[in-house]
Symmetry: none
Subunit: 203 residues, 4 copies
Amino acid sequence: MPRAVREQQMLDAAVRTFARCGYRSASMDEIAELAGVSKPLVYLYLNSKEELFTACIRREAAALVAAVRAAVEPDAAADRQLWSGLHGFFAHTAAHPDGWALLHVQARTQGEPFAREVAAMRAEMVELVTRQIAAAAQEAGCALGMAGQEVPGLAQALVGAAESLAEWAGAEGGPSAKETAATLMNFAWAGLGNLTQGQAWSP
Amino acid sequence: MPRAVREQQMLDAAVRTFARCGYRSASMDEIAELAGVSKPLVYLYLNSKEELFTACIRREAAALVAAVRAAVEPDAAADRQLWSGLHGFFAHTAAHPDGWALLHVQARTQGEPFAREVAAMRAEMVELVTRQIAAAAQEAGCALGMAGQEVPGLAQALVGAAESLAEWAGAEGGPSAKETAATLMNFAWAGLGNLTQGQAWSP
Amino acid sequence: MPRAVREQQMLDAAVRTFARCGYRSASMDEIAELAGVSKPLVYLYLNSKEELFTACIRREAAALVAAVRAAVEPDAAADRQLWSGLHGFFAHTAAHPDGWALLHVQARTQGEPFAREVAAMRAEMVELVTRQIAAAAQEAGCALGMAGQEVPGLAQALVGAAESLAEWAGAEGGPSAKETAATLMNFAWAGLGNLTQGQAWSP
Amino acid sequence: MPRAVREQQMLDAAVRTFARCGYRSASMDEIAELAGVSKPLVYLYLNSKEELFTACIRREAAALVAAVRAAVEPDAAADRQLWSGLHGFFAHTAAHPDGWALLHVQARTQGEPFAREVAAMRAEMVELVTRQIAAAAQEAGCALGMAGQEVPGLAQALVGAAESLAEWAGAEGGPSAKETAATLMNFAWAGLGNLTQGQAWSP
DNA sequence: GATGAATGAGAATTCATTCAT
DNA sequence: GATGAATGAATTCTCATTCAT
């Protein structure tokens, strides 16, 4: 069996195991067995537990970013762009719950070599959102009426809310990606103030 | 030295150690040394690493919930109540970073026995927020114009955004609890739609 | 059982195992079993394979040097002093063949941290011999007629010959310490030139 | 490339690797890479690590013995023969430090199958020296005044001193082969007794 | 003749946990 | 109530060795 294929099998097994047990608790024995290979082969291809974990993080992060970028409709209105991006995000995390848990729950916990990888991906997301908020303000003919300095905080809040909802929606029998994206747009775009007065946002 | 005091010392040491090293990496030796007692005594009082970790989670979760409940101004307007609760939340997490890290970062990564404890606390928070949103809608004389079924999702989003901001604000030189609460209220209450048109929320 | 006693048992087992198998081939399992304790206890007391090996080297080196110093008759004539020192040396190495093998055969092979320990002991020996050669020259009323610069080489040669003979005499049924010392004195003091003409050295 | 050539390349690589890392620490991977061939080929030609090591020892031992035999001037006087043999010995060990380290430092530490190989070579050397000492005695017209039984011990001492000096002279900036041989002849032939009275040996 | 792919066996080290005192 | 002494069970990682091609 060619090396590239085996390597993907190993990464699949590792993502799953790391996502469920955490970095420390996952054992290389477990991963090798789940991948259907012997432990030395895992070491031959991926060198160490640390490198294996890093490889998992990179693969999953790249896949998630690609999914979101592909989902955004570049020529639509600002709110519509945000919505499509969120939809892509929730669709991907729902389809790859282990990958998402790896990134969101496990990798950020394990300190420096790993947290940095996730932080880089998150920064990409935050920047994407920031640009969309700025575009929305411009579209509204308004030079960011609110203090521009708050935008980072808002983007953090939106990304944080999305991450949190992804985890929640990922549970058994949770809402669909489309529903989750709509809920978050209601929350984030219309605001609770409007919502409680009966004014919702809709795509 | 009375047993109860010794026990709290041990929990203090354990919270700090678990928060910084994670459940697996923290060693009972480390904890016992930091607490200034011998390892067998830790076992005598707290039985096992698992029970010790659980005790830490429960203590910190109870403290956080209590802080939030105490902060809410029960007779104020709906948005004001939400704001005061958030303020209490951010103030507590900033004041007890190890406790917050234990709950938010470490406990959730260790799988079943522990994640459940945190989930229970989170559910309490979500329910508290849900009641406040419902109260706000009622105040506005409106039977929740949006599908009432969305409220749980909104509460999840708000709690998730708060958790995310707590981590972000907890960094060195981050914003104060009051500033963080204001940012989140802007985001959550006024909504990005209004904000981008220059209309902010203020307490 | 008190710690100090256990520690000596472990060192005994380690000296024997390292001497017979070499540093790399000796396994901590073997040593622990031979010492009659569990492996973690060996680590608790001696920290690592490296530190254990170092402790063995130090103990055996100190014992050997002490034996030689104790054997030298300080007020005798120069040749007699040399002879008594050699006798002490051969007696000790014959009585502790594992310790000698550890120092002479194994420790010097294993590169820096260890070779240095043995080199230090050897330097002590060489210096002792050098002083005795110088004393002999003075006694003979001769300011080291031979090029003084050759003394280090001569001392090296004598110590090297002694080390080599120790190994040879250590074999099953080899000569006694006294015989070996006499042989070496004949060789070193009288010289082959005289010996082959029938003139031997005797104590 | 013919098999014999490849085999020598492998042995070259193996001698170098074994000499520098020791038998256990040297890995077949390293050796194969240094030899520029794949690992299975090493196994095809040399069967196992053990056989490979043995082959190295035999090759280097044979080369050393041949060098010494070639250096001896068969028709010269007894002391001159000894001197020329020692010169050959020191010249060869200086020219082939890896080979010498393999024989003197590494092979002897690895216990039975290997130490025996070196011992056989050493026995050959000792026998050669023994014959030369006997010849010297005969030349001097003297039936070995000293107990003939001491000759083996003397030969051991001479060979041991030579080995020891070879290591010492092998260091960076050490004496030349000629100088080393002279030092040893002074020591061994004239004896410390004469030397300390100003009477040296010279070729 | 030569190699990419694969593994069984064993190495050092760590840690939660328990007694006898 | 408190502890020094001790260990069973993992864990990460390495390496000599073998086939199918």
